[in-house]
């Protein structure tokens, strides 16, 4: 059997030249606590992934520079979920099976939804610091540091209604995020007495929204509600304005991509998200905001904050577990600690974040508007008591 050896050698050379001794096992030394994080490092939401990572790294540095937590040094394994549910399933598989972590930070609704059954099956505590769907609530082993579904979208509906919008059009991404948040907005808006006059969706990878926007324009809405991530937000508003959609545009979780890609078309956009209060008197929050500003020259947004909070929360869970004599590397032990004390520090606007019985969290929300190419907070909505 004549074997053409050269391509075989070439392939193996490629492989061999790239293999390093596997870096994934934790470095030895004082005890190292490894946990996982799933962020969008590629795809249209990659910039948010960067922000998540900044918050994560800062928190880890904070903890480790103080000697760790009860002798445990924190180490994260960051995996790219590519912004897709499938990527999430694969990332979770890697974290749970290869890295054997007891705790995973996750982002994105679709990712969290696919990761949760895997977490439940493997006793891994899953903390969502990004996804917003109502469907993420009430799921075992999954807890959410985020303003979700109804509290996230109702203020947008309210704001629009208060500004005389009676008809609304929806343009949402074809994933769990777009679908579920769209439903939340629709519920809120119709409850106020508004009417939905058009509802369009787009696939995640598209860059051409002409068809959807033309139909929306024809329905002549007072307000356009969009759900998209990163650069897509910007592209969407840009094409919307160019296609003469005159309505005000609102949507959850505004991003930098909205402004960098959207340019002037982004002006006036109103977005809702976790409240960030640079004027807070809370010492912990103040310290974080100042340190972040010093390092990155800008006040952090929610996406840097929630991972930061989650890591500190993890540290407190580890502490709790060690204190009661357990091994923090057990997901079940961490869960027990969480259930005993479901509260953690709010580093974005001060005070504390409480986890509810449906595993959602109670925290302040802000509405931001794009003015002169920058986000300006126009309203803060405190959570109901």
């Amino acid at each position: 059997m004549r074997l053409s050896v050269i391509p075989l050698i070439a392939a193996f050379a490629l492989v061999a030249g790239n293999v390093h001794p596997l870096p994934l096992q934790a470095q030895t030394g004082p005890k190292t606590f490894t946990f996982g994080a799933m962020f969008p490092l590629s795809g249209p939401a990659a910039e948010i992934g960067e922000e998540f990572k900044r918050g994560l790294d800062m928190a880890i540095d904070d903890v480790n520079s103080k000697g760790g937590i009860d002798g445990w040094q924190l180490k994260s394994v960051v995996v790219d979920h590519k912004g897709t549910a499938l990527g999430g399933a694969q990332a979770m598989n890697q974290l749970v099976n290869l890295d054997k972590v007891p705790f995973v930070l996750t982002t994105f609704t679709g990712v969290a939804l696919t990761a949760q059954p895997i977490a439940a099956q493997n006793s891994v505590l899953l903390m969502n610091v990004g996804g917003t769907s109502n469907n993420l609530l009430g799921k075992p082993w999954l807890y959410n540091d985020q303003v979700m579904g109804d509290p996230l979208n109702q203020p947008l509906a309210q704001y629009s209604y208060d500004n005389r919008a009676r008809t609304a059009a929806l343009l949402t991404s074809e994933d769990a995020y777009g679908k579920d948040d769209g439903i939340a907005f629709t519920t809120a808006f119709t409850k106020l007495g508004g009417k939905i006059v058009a509802s369009e969706t787009f696939p995640l990878t598209t860059t051409d929204f002409t068809a959807q926007l033309t139909k929306i324009r024809a329905s002549n809405p007072d307000v356009l509600y969009i759900v998209a991530v990163g650069d897509t937000q910007g592209l969407l508003v840009k094409q919307a304005r160019a296609l003469d959609v005159k309505a005000n545009i609102v949507g959850p979780l505004p991003t930098t991509g909205l402004i960098t890609v959207g340019g002037r078309a982004a002006e006036g956009f109103v977005g809702s998200g976790i409240a960030v209060d640079p004027t807070t008197k809370d010492p912990a929050a103040k310290a974080f905001l100042a340190a972040f500003k010093a390092k990155y020259n800008t006040v952090p947004e929610w996406d840097a904050g929630t991972p930061y909070e989650a890591v500190h929360f993890l540290a407190s869970l580890i502490h709790e577990t060690v204190r009661s004599g357990g091994d923090p590397r057990s997901g079940a032990a961490l869960l027990k600690a969480l259930e005993a004390h479901p509260v953690f520090q709010n580093y974005l606007s001060g005070g504390q974040v409480h986890l509810l019985s449906d595993h959602g969290s109670v925290r302040a929300l802000q509405l931001q508007q794009v003015k002169d190419g920058k986000y300006v907070t126009i309203k803060v909505v405190q959570p109901p008591k």
Binding site: S4, L14, N18, S42, L86, E174
Partner: protein, 567 residues
């Protein structure tokens, strides 16, 4: 570590199935399909629906997925496979893109962009295969079973037929093969395999969405097949292993992990281009499905070693020609015409080819001789007129149907299957007949003196050897009706004479033989009846002596003033 490797093993199994499915279709069948990911997806969605909605147990989930993909494969084959090569590429590409849209929008069946969640793992004998290693073993077994089946198909006579029609579908048709159906069959088999891969995938990840079944996936599968070697399934296995591990390593590298997806694209693209450019046969070249055994008791050296082509041709005169057990039919052509645009290539020609005689068709270039041959054998459709083989009218029959009635034809210039071995060529020609095919083929090769070359690719033989192989195919088939198109072309006198003796002996065995020839001395030697065509019309017919003296004939060949050297 075991768990991690198990996960990779599952994907190796899945990609092995996918790449094997495409290798069968593209490498063996020559059908350039860029829609394999569609079958992958359809299989996955079918399994997902069966498991989630109907709680279908193993193996019904797998079988159900296969059935659905095979049905789709049959539908596509019916529409596309009659088309020539490059249109199949574009047609399948178009379907791939249409299906990507269907997957994303047909919410009822596929869940649209949101996908289908919570697909349970299969249960074997009541025990769910929920552990990672367990599933890896399960996947490996499934892949091994289907890979084994594919090897079996590849080595089978069907596999040989598929490769032959890839080489030269027209030639395969004239040897009695319904190539359209064979192509469709291999395409459907490929679809089934991809469907199995899809079912495995759905039950492994537990979630399916459209992103895994798009055009990029189809292109990725092509890469694996090309690297492994088209037409070699073991190469596919190797390539599947290598190319599944490669992206995993990218994830491990700190430098590339963030942009791993882009680096993977880059890597695959480079590999594809490099392999096509420098190692077009991939890691492993295609293997013959059948090899010769040395003639029993006779060592190869004693067969006289490698005789040269000329000597071999001269041996042809002594080759065994078996007598025909029944009478050959009379081939009757009545008033057949064919026009191409304004040109009347064959104009109202009638003739009869009788058994036991050699009928010759002569005429200047462009007279329509080969066209007439093609019309009689079904390769062209006549505008008017009728053709009979005995009492059977064959006017509108397909070439393979006519061939099955007992017709062998050769083509102008040597036409054999270059990428099949000499032995495979003969086996294929014999394939529509009986048992012990390999031995009979070996005997034929020994008879014409090509035994030492039995395992060489036919394309690597010399012109003379290929000509002999062609005659070998004719002799092997032992058909009652034989059409020979310019077989004397390019040969020297001694070889032509030997060939002439052979042709006369074939006719003497009771067969109906018709030759088209330019070499007039060959014709005078061999023919019992001669028909002369000029400009598509029959201008003369009769015994050679009469034709030689016929002034019209002389005129059309040599112009007014008579033949040179003619007294």
């Amino acid at each position: 570590m075991i768990n991690y490797l198990s996960q990779i093993l599952v994907f190796v199994a899945i990609f092995l199935l996918l790449a094997t499915s495409l290798n069968l279709v593209l490498g063996f069948g020559g059908v350039f399909s860029i829609m394999q990911a569609v079958f992958y997806g359809v299989g996955a969605y079918a399994a997902a629906n069966l498991v989630v909605n109907l709680h279908a147990p193993f193996p019904l989930d797998l079988l159900g997925a296969m059935l659905v993909t095979m049905a789709l494969g049959a539908f596509v084959a019916a529409l596309l496979l009659r088309l020539r090569g490059e249109l199949v590429i574009i047609g399948t590409l178009a379907l791939q893109l249409v299906f990507s849209t269907i997957f994303r929008n047909w919410n009822a069946v596929t869940g649209g962009s949101y996908g289908i969640f919570g697909i349970a793992r299969p249960a074997l004998f009541g025990v769910p295969v929920s552990s990672l290693t367990g599933f890896a073993a399960f996947a490996a077994v499934i892949a091994a079973i289907f890979f084994g089946l594919s090897l079996f198909v590849a080595r089978s006579p069907f596999g040989l037929a598929v490769r032959a029609q890839r080489e030269d579908a027209v030639l395969a048709g004239t040897l009695g093969h319904d190539t359209v159906r064979e192509r469709a069959a291999i395409f459907i088999i490929g679809a089934a395999l991809a469907g199995v891969a899809g079912a495995l995938y759905a039950q492994f990840i537990g979630y399916v969405d459209p992103s895994s079944f798009d055009v990029n996936q189809s292109l990725g599968i092509i890469t694996i097949v090309v690297v492994g070697g088209l037409g070699n399934l073991w190469g596919t296995l190797g390539a599947a292993v290598i190319l599944t591990f490669l992206p995993q390593l990218l994830i491990l590298l700190p430098a590339t992990s963030a942009a791993a997806a882009q680096f993977q694209l880059l890597l695959y693209g480079v590999i594809l281009v490099a392999v096509v450019r420098f190692w077009p046969n991939g890691i492993l070249p295609e293997q013959p499905s059948i090899r010769s055994a040395p003639a029993r008791g006779v060592r190869p050296a004693l067969l006289g070693g490698m005789e040269d082509g000329k000597a071999l041709l001269e041996r042809l005169a002594a080759v065994t020609v078996r007598t025909l057990p029944t009478t050959a039919p009379i081939v009757r052509v009545e008033g057949v015409s064919k026009a191409f645009g304004g040109l009347r290539a064959v104009d109202d020609v009638s003739l009869a080819i009788e058994p036991g005689r050699v009928t010759a068709l002569i005429g200047p270039n462009g007279a329509g001789k080969t066209t007439l041959f093609n019309l009689i054998c079904g390769l062209l459709r006549s505008d008017s007129g009728r053709v009979f083989f005995g009492s059977q009218e064959t006017t509108r029959l397909q070439p393979f149907e006519i061939a099955r009635l007992g017709v062998t034809r050769t083509f102008q210039d040597v036409r054999i299957f270059p990428k099949l071995t000499a032995l495979e060529n003969v086996v294929f020609a014999l394939s529509s007949a009986g048992a012990h095919v390999a031995e009979r083929a070996g005997a034929v090769l020994a008879d014409v003196g090509l035994q030492p070359h039995a395992d060489r690719l036919a394309g690597s033989l010399s012109y003379a050897e290929q000509k002999i192989l062609m005659m070998g195919l004719v002799l092997a088939r032992e058909d009652p009706v034989v059409f020979l198109d310019e077989i004397a072309a390019g040969l020297d006198h001694a070889s032509v004479r030997a060939l002439g003796v052979l042709v006369r002996r074939i006719a003497a065995s009771g067969r109906a033989v018709c030759v088209v020839e330019h070499n007039l001395s060959f014709v005078w030697d061999v023919a019992d009846i001669v028909y002369v065509l000029d400009d598509g019309r029959l201008i003369a017919n009769g015994v050679p002596a009469d034709i030689q003296a016929n002034t019209n004939v002389i005129e059309i060949y040599f112009g007014r003033g008579g033949a040179p050297g003619h007294a």
